[in-house]
Amino acid sequence: MIRDVSLIWQNADRLLDGLTNTVILSLVGATLALVFGALVAIALMASNRAVRLTSRGLVDLMRCVPFLMLVYLVYYGLPRLGLRFDSWTAGLVAIVIYNTAYMAEIIRGIWSRLERETIEAGIAFGFHGWKLVARIVMPQIFLAAAPMIGNQLIQIIKDTAFLTIIAVPELTHAANSIQAQYFIPFATFLSAVLLYWALCMVVELGVFVVERIAEKRR
């Protein structure tokens, strides 16, 4: 056991490289998904029936598909249509596409429960279009959505582990390669699990902080 721990210690930089990739993929993926998700949410709330139903259908479809399936479609499927990515980019693209649907649904859910009146006040004071959405609607949504966005970020962090299957050098991949080299599966995977745990704790702490800020503003 002591030997295992010292081997892990010697290979800590490999685990940390994996962790860094996991963090970058999760954060960049979540941020882009949030931005696109907000746009899709606008489509989900559109008054135009065709726009609304189309976006609804796409979001529902995406939420039926396992993340790994989408990863395969992006990594192995899209090259057939002439779009070729390296595995890292394919992983990021899959994270963004997949979570755009979830973020859109989170935002739409809160939007539809948002008090109509504060939006109406915005309209009465001459806000319209993009500015109404950006200054009156979205800030309220994001404050209310923080816990759910946090949960989704945790889901994204966990989903990045699937990317080991297409050989993206994230945390689980790093752990797997260390254990394959030294045959110390217990220590390596346990280290990875603890690192995931710590990561999720950080996210929950962040949500807690945002919650405290939001508490005053509702």
């Binding site: 039926c64 598909v65 395969y72 057939r80 582990a161 699937f162 299957i165 217990f186 990875a192 704790m201």
Partner: protein, 215 residues
């Protein structure tokens, strides 16, 4: 894509469904046990459960699957891929089910328990005759929702070579050098599976959602 290929995708779907069902069959009661430990504040076990839930909820299914499959033999427990797959899904879903059961328990009306106690019912009797018959109705919609999530995360077991849907699709794609058709069919199968579960969930919500709600 040949008919045989389609059959092996269906076989993969069979594996996905049966492994998931096994995971659910083990994970749902295990989750209830964990929830009861926390609810009754059993010394030592209750805090351990808290740690277990927190840890498992932040562990990716893929990582957990690798841990179970590769690490258990090292400490002397031989395990085949299929059992490791079922264990992964059961341990993972139990953590989430624990939270569902627990929220049902904490919102259970105290007066009913107190009433039962005045009639001289013992703790286990109260749980069996008063709490559980109402609890499972309250929790069912959320439990079915968690089952839908489990179906989707069951793809993780492909990492240790279990021939479920995604792995079947990849293999057919590799054999035919045309990965897109089997993947699209596989995607279709998942959509059907998930829609079935969503349908069941809506049904349970209609049947029990309001009737068993915290009153």
């Amino acid at each position: 894509m040949t008919f045989n290929a389609f059959l092996s995708l269906l076989h993969g779907a069979g594996v996905t469904v049966s492994v998931s069902m096994a995971g659910i069959a083990l994970g749902v009661p295990f989750g209830l046990v964990l929830a009861l430990l926390r609810w009754r504040r059993v010394p030592l076990l209750a805090p351990l459960t808290t740690v277990y839930v927190s840890l498992l909820r932040s562990t990716p299914a893929v990582t957990l699957c690798l841990l179970i499959f590769f690490a258990l033999p090292v400490i002397g427990i031989e395990i085949d891929a299929l059992s490791a797959a079922i264990a992964t899904l059961a341990l993972n879903t139990a953590a989430f089910n624990c939270e569902i059961w627990r929220s049902g328990l904490t919102s259970f009306p105290r007066e009913q328990v107190e009433a039962a106690r005045t009639f001289g019912m013992s703790g286990t009797l109260i749980f069996r005759r008063i709490i559980f018959p109402q609890l499972w109705r309250t929790c069912l919609p959320a439990l079915v929702n968690e089952m839908t999530l489990l179906i989707k995360s069951s793809t993780a077991i492909a990492v240790i070579g279990v021939a479920e849907i995604t792995r079947a699709a990849i293999r057919i794609g590799a054999q035919t050098y045309d990965p897109l058709p089997p993947m699209l069919v596989a995607t279709g199968i998942y959509v059907v599976l998930v829609l079935v579960f969503v349908g069941i969930q809506r049904l349970t919500e209609r049947l029990y959602g309001q009737a068993g709600g915290a009153r």
